[in-house]
Symmetry: C2
Subunit: 143 residues, 2 copies
């Protein structure tokens, strides 16, 4: 049973562990996100993003994106301002509270990566990251 796991599952297990830790520790710090909200929130550019760009990047419809951005706005993570360059558009921007949640999640990721490195050793951790980065060339749909 142990060794014949397919490589997809082998990748999924640590990915999922990372994700779970981030959501748990974020929630413990008072930052509640659903996975769907996070998927959109993650993609907001530093100086704000348009709804349609977020939709495209997240791979969901504009309508679903609007639904989720409404929630993020209600939760205080983002606000919306008119786009100065385009009268049709509004920019979704990360608020102060939003930035604090980003920082918190960055910290959790760093903590988990440190745990992994402690388990694997620095050398194999670096190898893992190099191999995955290489694999990205043929598996990353956004190049």
């Amino acid at each position: 049973m142990p060794e014949d796991l397919n490589t997809g599952v082998l990748l999924y297990l640590p990915y999922r562990a990372m994700e779970t830790r981030v959501f748990e520790e974020l929630a413990a710090a008072g930052f509640d996100f659903t996975p769907s909200q996070a998927r959109v929130f993650q993609r907001i550019a530093p100086d704000g993003s348009r709804l349609s760009d977020l939709a495209r990047q997240a791979g969901i419809t504009k309508q679903s994106t609007a639904f989720l951005v409404d929630q993020l706005e209600r939760l205080g993570y983002v606000d919306r301002v008119p786009d100065p360059d385009d009268g049709r558009a509004r920019l979704v921007r990360i608020t102060e509270r939003g930035h604090r949640s980003v920082e918190a999640s960055r910290a959790v990721v760093a903590r988990v990566e440190a745990e992994w490195e402690a388990h694997l050793g620095a050398r194999r951790m670096a190898q893992l990251r190099r191999i995955l980065t290489d694999l990205r060339e043929i598996t990353d749909p956004w190049r």
Copy 2:
């Protein structure tokens, strides 16, 4: 931008690529599954499983499991028979058609793994799998 991706994302990209390929090629071969259906279907034991066991393993409620098993049954991938050992229970079993879909998905996984190995080289592919297997010790919630 390229190298500072966190390890979670780095794991997710190839995992997601694998998953997408499996669903696409399965669909092309006439086997349609939603991700939710697949999550339950995957966990059916060779000699059949109880609904409650599937629910526990998939981490969803019995009701949701029943909902998905109904669909799998309608699609012809599983059937249900009374459990000879427990009058309350029924066993969910994989049908002939279900087995064919399992075989098809196994083939897609093998194909994708071969592509990855061609890109990375056999040596690094093996390294990747070894490191991930090792990482499983601290990230696999089902031990």
